[in-house]
């Protein structure tokens, strides 16, 4: 695994730091979260290449600052919807690595008992409404969560993560417009990582910024550097407070970059190795935030190394947990299809009791 000790350049890059009143502890938690995402994903990649893990897996490496910055602005009870590239959102929303890794391995101990895998990992208990195999489908769903809060008159906020490619889907338009007409407590975070599978963003987006589409809905549109976790936090906090105050949704576009292939196994014919190397060298959110923490005197390089060591151990423990966990038994095939009695007369006792729990 690459060491994350910041190069000199990164230090200068972060002059004039706005810490948004976040405590040292909060800042360190953010760093740890980003690192947990990075190390988790790096391990997932290794396991996949060793055929110890399978399925359609989309890594979040390079984009850690977006999920972390946005979720740091949330309270318990707030919810998020995610995408096919959802591991980072899960970790930032507080899911545990062990049941996550187990889910990616299709094990019974996974968050979804192995029935969902990477593209459907979810934990409603954590307010994580699910990764999603369908591009942009999370947008109407989070609009719906926000609608639920609005109808109920409660104070929660729904944050929706989606990609630049998703911004061209009808669900983007309908979901955001719906939320805007009712001023629902929703925040839409576009992760513009420069590519939609094999298409560079500019091929399918006839304008420069996804955020400019906020004009079509009469809501604020904000562009942030997606490799700067503090900038993302700042924009998200403003948007979340606004939503909670009943002032309606915000569209945030985080400019970021996908360091890995679209999915594990992607030959990446659509971009050069140099382009990727250049991005890794210049806009690694972890290197950047690590430098900031040192500059602020929040942590020394040694402390950051120590956190890294702890995180690696946590990830290893998750891998062990996953690998030692049992496969879901055949009896699980036909459970969880319905809540309550199954129309085909198949009972689902386990799932029902869990649901009630």
């Amino acid at each position: 695994m690459a060491t994350l000790t910041p190069p000199a350049s990164a230090t200068t890059a972060s002059s004039g730091i706005e810490r948004h009143g976040l405590s040292d502890e909060a800042l360190l938690d953010m760093y740890r979260t980003m690192l947990r995402i990075r190390r988790f994903e790096e391990r997932v990649k290794e396991l996949f290449l060793e055929a110890r893990l399978y399925g359609s897996v989309h890594l979040y490496i390079g984009e850690e600052a977006v999920a972390t910055g946005a979720c740091t602005a949330l309270r318990d009870g707030d919810v998020i919807s995610s995408t096919h590239r959802g591991h980072g959102h899960c970790i930032a929303k507080g899911l545990e690595l062990a049941p996550m890794m187990a889910e990616l391995m299709g094990k019974a101990t996974g968050y979804n008992h192995g029935k969902g895998g990477s593209m459907h990992i979810a934990s409603l208990d954590h307010g994580m409404l699910g990764a999603n195999g369908i591009v942009a489908a999370g947008i109407p769903i989070s609009t719906g969560a926000a609608l639920g809060f609005w109808v109920r008159g409660s104070e929660e906020v729904a944050v929706c993560f989606f990609g630049d490619g998703g911004a061209n889907h009808g669900s983007f338009h309908e979901g955001i417009n719906f939320a805007a007409t009712l001023k629902l407590p929703a925040v839409f975070v576009c992760e513009n990582n420069q590519y939609a599978q094999y298409h560079p963003v500019q091929q399918d987006l006839p304008i420069e910024n996804v955020a400019d589409r906020s004009v079509a809905y009469g809501i604020p549109g904000v562009i942030v550097d997606g490799s700067d976790v503090l900038a993302v936090y700042g924009a998200a906090k403003t948007a979340v407070d606004r939503a909670r105050a009943g002032e309606g949704p915000t569209l945030i576009e985080a400019k970021t970059y996908r360091f890995e292939g679209h999915f594990l196994g992607d030959p990446e014919p659509y971009r050069t190795k140099e382009e990727v190397a250049q991005a890794r060298a210049s806009r690694d959110p972890l290197v950047r935030f690590g430098a900031i923490l040192q500059q602020l005197g929040v942590a020394t390089a040694d402390r950051l190394q120590a956190i890294d060591a702890e995180v690696k151990d946590e990830v290893e423990a998750a891998v062990e947990f996953g690998e030692e966990s049992p496969e879901p038994g055949a009896e699980l095939l036909l459970t969880d299809i319905y809540t309550g009695a199954d129309p085909d007369g198949r009972d689902a006792p386990r799932s029902r009791s869990e649901t009630d729990a």
């Binding site: 369908i134 719906g144 309908e174 029902r352």
Partner: protein, 323 residues
């Protein structure tokens, strides 16, 4: 007990359930000034937060219902015509119906997707198609098709109280034509219990919605010829009360399924496949179907009428089996 129409009965169900449980709310296009009256008066009684008028955005309606259910609400989403659900299939089928399973059971999604279908009002091909067979193909979904005003109220209440996504298909023509005494008190009609609308020993006719009336007409005609038809209304397609249907066939040894939906891969095919599984040895004749002859519904009244199964066609189908 007041005589009320099918649409008034649905309106009663919505009002009573919204009064009973404040998590229940309606959303949809133009539901404030409800064209067929199903949501009439609800906006005035419950306000803009319980009767949510939406933009013309079916995918968002489908997803908004799902998202609100995921955070504890009990949405009743209206799709003005069933064909408009084609704009929301991903949210309804790929998301709502699969979510519980994909999430390992840890989701309870009480959603009612209300809509209306049916021929007979010269709405032409894009406003008529009955897609119930599509939704019946989908694990995780329940499908309801009420025929009478009494059942409409009781089944809608059951749908609203059900903890799963339910596609609730109302019939355009029955809104006004189906009238009967309906209690203004609280009652429900269970899913998965067919209603035997007429008893008979010679043939079983399974009909859906308006086709139940058509089947009953046919039964009268057949009775004159000494053929006693048993007419069954499944009321819910998923779950399906195959037991009642199979037992009837074991008695009559013949079955004809009648629906307005297209014949090819329509629900009738499923009924037949299940009947042969459960009652093969009792069958004296091949199970038959009378349905839309695989044609988009034409606008012209004369042609539209010809596209809807008629009592005459049902009689002919039965005679072919009894002969």
């Amino acid at each position: 007990m007041p005589e009320v129409t099918y649409s008034q009965a649905l309106n009663m169900a919505l009002r009573e359930e919204m009064q009973r449980d404040e998590r229940v709310f309606c959303l949809g296009e133009d539901i404030k000034d409800s064209t067929y009256g199903v949501t009439r008066g609800l906006y005035e009684e419950f306000g803009a937060k319980r009767v949510v008028g939406t933009p013309i955005s079916e995918a968002a309606i489908g997803g908004a219902a799902l998202g609100s259910a995921a955070v504890g609400m009990r949405p009743v989403a209206e799709f003005m015509y069933m064909t408009f659900m084609m704009c929301a299939m991903d949210q309804m089928v790929n998301q709502a119906a699969k979510m519980k399973y994909m999430f390992g059971g840890k989701a309870v999604l009480p959603i009612v997707y209300r809509t209306m279908a049916g021929a007979g009002r010269a709405n032409a091909a894009q406003h008529t198609q009955d897609l119930a067979s599509w939704f019946s193909h989908v694990p995780g979904m329940k499908v309801v098709m009420p025929t009478t005003a009494y059942d409409a109220k009781g089944l809608l209440k059951t749908a609203i109280r059900d903890d799963n996504p339910v596609v609730f298909v109302e019939n355009k023509v029955l809104y006004a034509t189906a009238k009967e005494d309906v209690p203004d008190t609280d009652y429900t009609v269970p899913f998965g219990k067919a209603s035997v609308r007429r008893e008979g020993k010679d043939v079983t006719i399974v009909g859906l919605q308006r086709m139940v009336e058509t089947a009953l007409e046919a039964a009268d005609e057949l009775a004159e010829a000494g053929i006693e038809a048993e007419v069954i209304d499944p009321r819910t397609l998923v779950p399906l009360d195959i037991e009642t249907i199979a037992n009837s066939v074991k008695k009559t040894h013949r079955v004809v399924v009648v629906h307005e939906a297209h014949e090819r891969v329509g629900f009738g095919a499923e009924v037949i496949a299940q009947v042969v599984t459960h009652a093969f040895d009792y069958l004296d004749a091949p199970p038959a179907r009378v349905a839309n002859p695989n044609v988009p519904t034409p606008f012209s009244r004369t042609l539209e009428e010809l596209s809807i199964p008629s009592a005459g066609q049902v009689v002919a189908a039965v005679r072919a089996l009894v002969a």
